[in-house]
Symmetry: C2
Subunit: 469 residues, 2 copies
C-alpha cells in the first residue's frame, strides 16, 4: 500500500482538482460516458448541503414535490426563449417498452415547463397563491466535455419554482432565496461570494432577471455557484396560468425559480483543499473527527467514542490493519477536520495528539481536555478558513479603467476585474471573444467611475468580469 | 367551494383509491403519459419514510452513493437473466445534444449492473469488504397501465447493493434488511405484513433467492411492498469481481440487493383510509395535528402553536377564509391524525374540541389538558390502527386442501389462501392461469398438511397465493 500522490496545485491546478476528487474517494468515473459516480464521502457532503438548505427552505414556507423526469417535445417548446436555450443540450428518449414513442421526450434539463403545466391546473384562485414548491432531483444536460461536480451530464440539484399574486412578492422571493444561498455558502461552506445581477446576455433562458452567486476559486477562476431567477409573467402567459383575485377578476401570477447543485462541492474543493488532499470546513464536514487507534487502546477508544456521541460530534474510527502513517495520510486526503491519534504508549502518559486539518497543527493534550478542545478548534477553523479564502479572493480583485489595462491584467493575473460598462452586449462580447473574460455580475453597490472600457461611450454600470469554470 | 366527494370504497374500491390519491392532494396526473406528479402531502409522506429508513440503514453501517441514471445497452446485457427480465420494460435514450448516440442507453430500471461495474473497480482486497451501499433515486419501467404509487413509469425508491467476502455474511445481510423493512412497515406504517421467500418463478431476475414483504389491502388483494435479494456470486462472476483474501488468494464475493419504493404509500392508503379520505398512522404522518381556528382566537392559537413546537409535535394551522365545515372536511380528506377545533365561543368556557381521524371520535377538554391528550391519542391510534388492520387481514386468510376448495374460495372470497404445493412451476402456473391467483411467498413456519392441491403429488412446502396489485 502506498500513500496516494496528489499533483501540486500550483503546478497543474486542473490535474490537482481531479486528483482530489479521485483520491479523496469523492467520485469515480463510470462506463457511462459523461456521468460520474458520487462515492460515499462525496454523497455525504451533498446530504449535508441538502439537509441544511432543505431546512431553510421549509422554514420559509416551501414544500417539496416531485415532478416527472421526462418532458414531451411539445411541452418543452411552449416558451420560446426557454426551448432555444435548452434544446441543443438535452437527451432524447425515443423508445419505451420495445416500441417507438409517438412523441419523443427529453430527460428534464430543468423543470420550468413541468411546473407551469401543473400550476395551470392547480392555481385558480387567490387562495391558491403563493405556491412555493421545490424539488430535489437529477437533471440531464448533454455536455461535451465534463469534469467531476463542475460539468456533468447528470447533475444532482434542487430547483425551486414559485408563483405569486403580485410582482413585489415574486421579486422578494427571488431575493429571499438568493440571500439563503449567500448565507449558506459563507456560513457553512466558508466560501466568500460575490453576488449580483447577471447581464442580459448571461441571464437564464426565459427569465427577466437572474441573480448569481459567484465564488472565486484558488486559481482565480470564477464558479457560478447558484442562481435565482425572476420570470415576471413570461411563462405564466405562455402557459395561460390565471387566477381570480379577491375582486373576482382574472389576473396572471408572477414567477420565480432558483437552484443550486453538486457544483458547490467542486467549489468547496477549489476554495479550501491543498496538496495533501481535501480540506472541509467543520460545519459541512459529514464527520468532524477521525480517530486513529494505535496499539491496544480499546478502553479509552470506547470512552472517547461515547463522549463524542454524547456531544453529538460526528466521527469515524479507522480500525483497519494499515500502518499508522498510512492511516494518517488517508485521513488527510479525505479532509476530516480533526484527526485524533490514540496511541497505546502516549495514553500511558495521559497524552493524546490532535491534528487540525487546515493548518496541520499538532496539539498534544490530556484525555479530559479533548472535548472542549475539539469544539474550540472547529469554531476557529471555520472562521479562519473563511477569512483565508476571503483574503485571497480580495487580493485577486482588480480594477481596469481602460481596455489596455483590462487586457494587461487579464494577460498577467487571474481573478475578477471590475470595469465600467455601457450595458451594450457588443462590448460584452468583445471582452469575451478577444480577452476570454465573461461577465460575472453587475456591481450595484458601486458608482460608475469612467466611460465604458470597451467603446469609450458613457458607462451605465460597474461589472465584474473573469474567467470561469 | 364544495366538499370533495369520494367514491364509497365498498362499492368501487379502484375508484375510491384514485379518489383518495387525487382528493387528498397526494398526486396529480401530468401531461407526461404514465408519470405522476407527487404533490406536497404525498412527498412529505415519502420524506418521512426516507428519513426513518435512511437512519436505520446508516445505523447498520450502510453508506449512500449516487450512480449514473443511464445504462449503456452492452452493460445491461452482461448478466443474462437480468437483461431478459428488464429489457422489455425500459426506456431508451438514442440521441443527446442533437446527435445520435453511438450506443443507446436505457434509463435505469434498477442498478445492479451499474453497481457491479463500480465494484469491479473498487474491490480488490478483503480490506475493501464488505461494501454496504444504498442509493435513493428514481427508476423507470415502461409500464403499459399505471396507477398512482402502485404502478408508474417513474418510481422513487431506494436500492441497496452490498458485497461480502462470505456467503454467510451476505445471507445475513439479506435477512437483516428484510427485518428492517418488516419492522418499519409494522411499527411506523401500522401495516401487518406476511413475509417469506418468493418461489423460483417469482424471484427477481438474476437472484438466487428473493425475500418478500406482502401486505394485504382492504379489498383482500396483495401488495408486494419490499424485497430483499440474495445473489450469491451470479453477478460477481458475470462481471469478474474478485478480491484477495487474507491468505493472498483470489476469491469471488457474495452479493445482495434490496429495495422499497413509493408503492408503500399506495399500501398505506389501501390499508387504512376510509370514505372520508386519507387516514395516516401518527408515526408516519408528516403533521400530527391540524389546528382550525374559528373566530378571533389569536392569543390561544399562539400559545397552542408554541406548546406544540416545544413538544416537537408537528402541526399545520388552516388560517384560510373557508368555512369551518369546509376546513373540517378538508382536514379529514388529508388525513391529519388529530384535528383541533379552536373556537372563539368555546374558548370562553375553556373548551377545546379534538377529533381523532381514524375513529372520528370527538373529545372536549380544557386548554391545559391538550398536550397530554394529544400524546395519548397518538399512541392509542397507532396501536389500534395496526390491530384493526391485522384483525381484518387475519379474517381474510383461508386454507385450501384441494383444487376445488381453492377454486371455490377464490370465486367467493378475497384474501390470501394457504395451500400445499409440490414446488413445481407447472402447478404454480395453473393456479395463475386458471384461477388468477399468484404465489405470494413460501410459508416456512408451517408443516405440509397434505398433497399438492394442483397435481395431488407429494407437497414440499406450504404457500400463500392471492390476487395482487
Amino acid at each position: 500500500m502506498e500513500i496516494k500522490e496528489i499533483t501540486n496545485r500550483d503546478i497543474d491546478f486542473a490535474k490537482w482538482y481531479t486528483d482530489i476528487c479521485k483520491k479523496a474517494d469523492l467520485v469515480d468515473y463510470s462506463g457511462v460516458k459523461g456521468s460520474m459516480i458520487i462515492r460515499p464521502l462525496g454523497f455525504a457532503i451533498w446530504e449535508q448541503m441538502e439537509r441544511i438548505l432543505d431546512e431553510k427552505f421549509k422554514e420559509t414556507g416551501h414544500e417539496n414535490v416531485q415532478m416527472p423526469m421526462f418532458i414531451p417535445e411539445s411541452l418543452l417548446k411552449v416558451e420560446k426563449d426557454h426551448v432555444e436555450g435548452f434544446a441543443p443540450e438535452v437527451a432524447w428518449v425515443t423508445e419505451g417498452g420495445k416500441e417507438p414513442l409517438d412523441e419523443r421526450m427529453c430527460v428534464r434539463p430543468t423543470s420550468e415547463v413541468l411546473f407551469c403545466e401543473h400550476y395551470k391546473k392547480i392555481i385558480n384562485s387567490y387562495r391558491d397563491l403563493p405556491k412555493l414548491y421545490n424539488q430535489w432531483c437529477t437533471i440531464v444536460r448533454w455536455e461535451k466535455t465534463t469534469r467531476p461536480f463542475l460539468r456533468s451530464r447528470e447533475i444532482l440539484w434542487q430547483e425551486g419554482h414559485t408563483m405569486h399574486s403580485t410582482e413585489q412578492e415574486a421579486r422578494e422571493e427571488t431575493l429571499r432565496i438568493f440571500n439563503i444561498y449567500k448565507e449558506f455558502q459563507e456560513e457553512y461552506l466558508a466560501m466568500p461570494v460575490i453576488t449580483g445581477k447577471k447581464t442580459e446576455k448571461e441571464k437564464f433562458a426565459g427569465a427577466l432577471e437572474t441573480y448569481t452567486i459567484e465564488a472565486m476559486m484558488y486559481d482565480g477562476y470564477a464558479l457560478q455557484n447558484g442562481t435565482s431567477h425572476y420570470f415576471g409573467q413570461n411563462f405564466a402567459k405562455a402557459f395561460g396560468i390565471e387566477f381570480t383575485n379577491k375582486e373576482n377578476k382574472l389576473e396572471t401570477p408572477y414567477q420565480t425559480s432558483w437552484g443550486v447543485s453538486t457544483r458547490m462541492i467542486g467549489g468547496l474543493i477549489m476554495t479550501h483543499s491543498d496538496n495533501n488532499g481535501l480540506v472541509l470546513p467543520p460545519k459541512i464536514a459529514p464527520w468532524k473527527v477521525i480517530i486513529i487507534p494505535i496499539g491496544n487502546v480499546t478502553e479509552k477508544l470506547d470512552e472517547l467514542e461515547e463522549k463524542l456521541k454524547q456531544e453529538k460530534i460526528t466521527f469515524k474510527t479507522d480500525r483497519s490493519d494499515k500502518s499508522p502513517g498510512y492511516r494518517f495520510a488517508e485521513a488527510e486526503v479525505k479532509g476530516y477536520p480533526i484527526r485524533i491519534e490514540l496511541g497505546e504508549r502516549d495514553l500511558k502518559e495521559d497524552k493524546i495528539t490532535l491534528v487540525r486539518r487546515d493548518t496541520l497543527e499538532k496539539i498534544t493534550l490530556s484525555f479530559k481536555e479533548i472535548i472542549p478542545k475539539i469544539k474550540e478548534i472547529m469554531e476557529i477553523m471555520q472562521k479562519e478558513m473563511f477569512n483565508r479564502a476571503k483574503r485571497r479572493r480580495d487580493e485577486m480583485i482588480y480594477e481596469a479603467n481602460t481596455y489596455e489595462e483590462l487586457k494587461e491584467i487579464a494577460d498577467n493575473k487571474s481573478g475578477f476585474i471590475k470595469i465600467n460598462w455601457c450595458e451594450n452586449t457588443e462590448c460584452e462580447n468583445k471582452i469575451k471573444d478577444d480577452i476570454g473574460l465573461k461577465s460575472r455580475c453587475l456591481i450595484d453597490s458601486e458608482k460608475v467611475t469612467g466611460p465604458c472600457v470597451v467603446c469609450g461611450k458613457k458607462a451605465k454600470t460597474r461589472l465584474y468580469v473573469g474567467r470561469q469554470y
